[in-house]
């Protein structure tokens, strides 16, 4: 009922959605992150901490399943080299009742942003730069505490 994947292969929305729909839910909420071409970004490289990343995503998925009544949780994160328009992350939550699916989906992406060991490097015409963490991500993650 929980599936976590960290893979350099492109994310296929149809397959992700079908996998979560197979759980017999009445509603599915998803969030998909897409590489943006902001500031002339030509490419994005995602680095991660093998083993610890999958474990961290599992912990988050288990936390969501403990907090909401879900029939399925799916977190798929791409790593490696990507270009604008590519899908970076897919979070899907399935539940009998839509509020549970919607809230759990927001919880997962908010917490993933601050708790899963991924790092983004942008490639621009002028060179490369590591993405800085954003205070707004910390605030978004903090609202799920307590």
């Amino acid at each position: 009922m929980i599936a976590v994947t960290v893979d350099p292969a492109p994310i296929e929305i149809g397959a992700e959605h079908a996998a979560i729909a197979a759980s017999g839910a009445g509603g599915i909420a998803t969030f998909t992150g897409i590489v943006r071409a902001d500031d002339g970004v030509a490419a994005l490289t995602l680095e991660h901490y093998p083993g610890a990343t999958e474990a961290a995503l599992h912990v988050l998925a288990e936390a969501a399943a403990a907090r909401w009544e879900l029939t399925g949780v799916r977190v798929t994160h791409r790593v490696g080299w990507m270009v604008p328009g590519d899908l970076v992350v897919f979070v899907g939550t399935a539940a009998r009742h839509r509020a549970a699916a919607l809230e759990a989906c927001a919880f997962l992406i908010d917490r993933l942003k601050t708790e899963a060991p991924f790092w983004k490097k942008e490639t621009l015409a002028a060179g490369e730069r590591w993405v800085e963490p954003r205070g707004s991500d910390d605030a978004a993650a903090a609202r799920w505490i307590g």
């Binding site: 992150g33 995602l46 680095e47 991660h48 901490y49 083993g51 610890a52 474990a55 961290a56 994160h77 970076v88 992350v89 992406i109 993933l112 942003k113 601050t114 708790e115 899963a116 060991p117 991924f118 790092w119 983004k120 490097k121 590591w130 993405v131 800085e132 963490p133 991500d137």
Partner: protein, 85 residues
């Protein structure tokens, strides 16, 4: 006892390697102490660890603050704040 030290993102780039296996000296009581000791290993280490406030760590894949007690870990990772998703 040898400990595996892992580096990620710009920490890794500044140091020039993603992992080192080191015998840690006695007297390192916290992760911050370890970072201070590692900073003396090369100019790259010194640059990577110049601002401890920009660093995060995991001991045996458990995320900890830099003030955490070091203990006798098998693996320690040092890296910047995460930026995935």
């Amino acid at each position: 006892m040898a400990t595996e030290i892992l580096y990620f993102a710009w920490v890794r780039e500044k140091i020039g390697v993603g992992a080192e296996t080191l015998n840690l000296p006695d007297g390192l009581s916290t992760v911050a102490d370890l970072v201070g000791w590692l900073a003396g290993r090369s100019d790259g280490h010194a640059e990577a660890f110049a601002e401890p406030a920009r660093l995060r760590a995991a001991i045996d894949q458990v995320f900890v603050p830099l003030e955490a007690t070091l203990g006798q870990p098998r693996e320690i990772a040092i890296f910047p704040p995460v930026t995935g998703g």
